[in-house]
Symmetry: D2
Subunit: 336 residues, 4 copies
């Protein structure tokens, strides 16, 4: 941490700030320039709240040098983390191919889609039982009944299931039944929920908030990890920008950036990012070419009748063709 | 709702879409242009999911004409709502002057600040007991103990208290003790929590999410209202933009816009928006000049030692001076 | 400038970076922490391109301590600049009340509006002769003929005129005829045009680009000043954000922020920011309450027939009422 | 165009709006719902300014159904445009591989890089002679001398050259010497410059503005096309968002979206988007996997000494390896 003093601070002011820093257990190193003095703070600054210094009347600004996260930081954990989802490995070259309907509707629907995506090469089944909807008047998901449908299909088809948890109320049920627990974009900073995920044995799929910076996103993973659960997969699903033709802007630079900053696996959800099915094909290929550890794609056997987000779903045949190309691109990338 | 068909759709396609619309209980009116056909849907479209039509292969786009909210909509409720917070009225010319420390630290601290702000003209006391923090290593608030301190000060000083609820776990305690329950920006779309607020007797202060559109924000109020609690005050606290010199960009256009769209009161929190104490003075004045129904301002007797967000707190004397000017501006505005 | 070396850099790497810094005429001061070394650079770094260091293989990041602008910097010029626009003073408590139609249409139209706004208390007349339009098929302004109309009205009514320059082609004509030359948001980083403004005797009104940071905006003023013209007035007109209900988001925090960073006057254009006439009244009051040095407002005698941007224009009577309130608010603020 | 009237408009109001529409040469079709009336406007609305209707006191909103561009619109020109850059074809499966230094520094530098990139498989040479820089104190490019160096290298190596035009002053020189004239992001809405490009025989490379929507970007291409030059290649180079770890956010959804909206070729510049050389490799692969018609990449033989933007340049060997992978990915995609 570097503290920049206000211009033309005198020795008395410098001393006072220096003493304040030392009370926090840090060493100091003072650099005087022409009119400007800066103080380098030496020690573990990751758990010190910089605001303590920002309010000091002699301080102009506080600059961070270290990242504020530890457990998720690649600097302290150089090897890729491989997350095991009930036998399916994700990360370090192991690809997650997650697919399924936006919402669970009926057993027959989910079963049919699950068989199709498995045949196409998917290794996990997704489906929403609890749905976060902007409007209280929109379909909110089947709830526990939807969860039971997913479990029944899992039994039949043999794919691990991924579904979203919206409330601490269902934590135990999810821990028992769900192979990979998804935390949605709107709950990425529901810190109360994040803390409770430390008590769960299941791996967590943490979606990026619509306006979360990389650092905030990793900090939310750090919340889960610091609570005791280190099995976190990150999922980019688009950010909110000024462009409104697409629902959100898919940020594929997140793949190489997160690769550098953290050891956790990163997958991409191109279906929610754009909100249009005809964007999924090209964005899925681009995601894998960018080096993502997997894809989460909405597939529906009858998008026109889907209870939610049908507009962004692929039909099973289209998904099957897509996976063929995607796997060829993965080959080219992984050979390096 | 208006449905625009793909260019050069034939009569058969038009008929199929028209039939689909009618199955949803709407009437239709068809307008054929040169190459382009549009279908006007007549009836109550507010509870119909437009995505059902968007996925139709003959549909180019679906355009909404009506707002998707009812209870919060000024069109259906032309008079300003006045929310009663334990005797303090807010809305329709009644100003909320909420002030207090970011975090509750000690009884003495809160008591001292409460006395000062009351003397300055504030009519509600704020203070965080549960704090949403980006980092798991930052101070998370005193929790229930902080709530007890607020209650004790309320007893002593006589100002209604405002504090943030982060989890359904404390719903009953808040309903018992807190005069105005704040839902923070990061929980604005924690739909599970919003639904539970319908069971509470207390009014709700709903902060705008960092990237929430006006419509999404009002829809979150609609969630609370549709669950049974119509006493909602909206609070603008800055949105996230590309500008990073300030923490967030305070959007004061929200005041006239919300005035037009909804009958609920709107107040402004200039302290969190900018994140710098020296922005509060001018932004508070601007907020009132813009027609806001109140201000929520951080005041601390010793900002330099504040456990969180000291950088954006005013000292009590500064707050007192500010309120004098603010009230003069309010006079000019209200006289109209 | 502070240079942070990569973690665990050895002495040899530190020496190499230090030598590189010294070749640029700067002194160095080295701070070694646990695993992390930083180098403080002492000297005038404002004209050194930081990218030279960022590409160094041993450098992790480069942090700026000083602002990159000099002439516009309040640190080097503590007193407010007062810009003289053909006798009308702007800045340091002197308010610019600029009003007029979006586009110049006819002599009669401009004359009628000019008389009305003068009677209401305006001290400058605006009107677009050259219009930047998103579509090549929209009305592009009357061009030189529009300029002549403005001049004729100025002769008649006696208000200095403000109009936008879009191309170096008309530089001499504007220098001869226009009292305050406006550079629009879309040309804020037309660096070629900015440089040529140094040859002009007239003051410049520099609008903020839709996505310009405060620093970039001030740097564009610095371009004009460094070219020889120090009479620059800054004009906030809204920035582009995710919110699309309003045309742009008016950033009133710009007023106190620019007040701190620069000595140049800052005025607000609430008409273009929101794009709706019913937002102008409250935002104009808020702007003045925030401490702005003036307002630029679109006024049209027949907004329904305006050739462009009628939707955001006030009628003269409305403008007159508004100025009365605005001046009362200005009184309250200036008394401090 | 659809015009939505204010709620509960009476027949007289409807008639007045209808008459206004008819004076603009459009036919009308009226749809009356419960409380809400809409008017469909039939005819060529692309050249009618919607603001004329928005200001009408009886109108609630105006909704566009047709895109406002014609020449660039795929609906009116279904086949891909192939742009010929001095013999190198771009579009419809023909890839542009443009590479070279950010700034032209010396003949030897450009010659060496040009030979390397040609050997690696590039088919055009880029290099900046005129540089748009945020600061007036940064290196502004060699100007005409830089252009001469590019021409000399072109003579020697035989690659068409691409370089940025910043001012109408050099239009004739560029038309004579430059094979593909680049218009930079900051000049994307320099409408005066765009109009003049119609007089040029050379194809234009139009970069997306940092905050330009797809529609605005295409409208700027429409400006050039409407002025008489239909050879436009679009180049995505990142947009400005809240994320600041990268310089800009690369929006690869632009590739499929533009493919749908326009027939013009689309290429990607991953070097400027991220601003970090280590992002280029993965983003270049992703761009081609997304279906882009080419790549524009900064290559420098000595990035550490580059006069500008060295941080985002690849060394020639790295570029050569990258192109090998890229071409394999292009094969997979094009086979479809």
């Amino acid at each position: 941490m570097i503290i920049v003093l206000k211009q033309h601070s005198g020795q008395k002011e410098i001393d006072r700030v220096e003493n304040l820093i030392k009370t926090k257990g840090l060493d100091t190193h003072i650099v005087k320039g022409a009119g400007q003095t800066i103080i380098g703070c030496i020690g573990d600054t990751s758990r010190i709240d910089a605001k303590l210094f920002e309010v000091n009347p002699y301080v102009d600004k506080v600059i961070h040098v270290q990242e504020p996260y530890k457990l998720a930081n690649r600097a302290f954990h150089p090897e890729d983390t491989v997350v095991d989802v009930s036998g399916v490995k994700v990360g370090s070259g192991n690809m997650a191919y997650i697919a399924g309907p936006c919402s669970v509707e009926t057993y027959e629907q989910v079963l049919s889609i699950a068989k199709d995506i498995k045949a196409a090469g998917a290794n996990m089944l997704r489906g929403g039982a609890f749905k976060p909807r902007t409007s209280p008047y929109s379909f909110q998901g089947l709830g526990p009944e939807g969860l039971d449908i997913l479990c029944a299909v899992k039994e039949e088809v043999g794919l691990p299931i991924v579904t979203e948890l919206m409330s601490p109320e269902y934590l135990d049920v999810f821990n028992e039944k769900v192979d990979l627990i998804q935390i949605g974009a709107r709950n990425m900073q529901n810190f109360d929920l994040l803390k409770q995920l430390g008590q769960v044995d299941r791996p967590i799929l943490l979606k990026r908030g619509l306006n979360a910076t990389y650092e905030e996103w990793i900090m939310s993973a750090e919340y889960i990890m610091a609570s005791g659960n280190e099995n976190v997969i990150l999922c980019e699903r688009g950010i909110r920008t000024f462009e409104t033709y697409t629902r959100n802007t898919l940020d594929l630079q997140s793949v190489p950036v997160l690769r550098k900053l953290t050891h956790l696996p990163v997958i991409i959800d191109p279906s929610h990012a754009g909100g249009k099915w005809w964007l999924v094909d090209s964005m899925a290929k681009a995601s894998v070419a960018a080096g993502a550890d997997g894809l989460m794609i909405e597939v529906h056997n009858n998008p026109e009748a889907a209870l939610c987000d049908g507009a962004q779903s692929l039909k099973p045949e289209k998904y099957s063709e897509l996976l063929k190309d995607v796997k060829q691109i993965a080959d080219i990338i992984h050979r390096q």
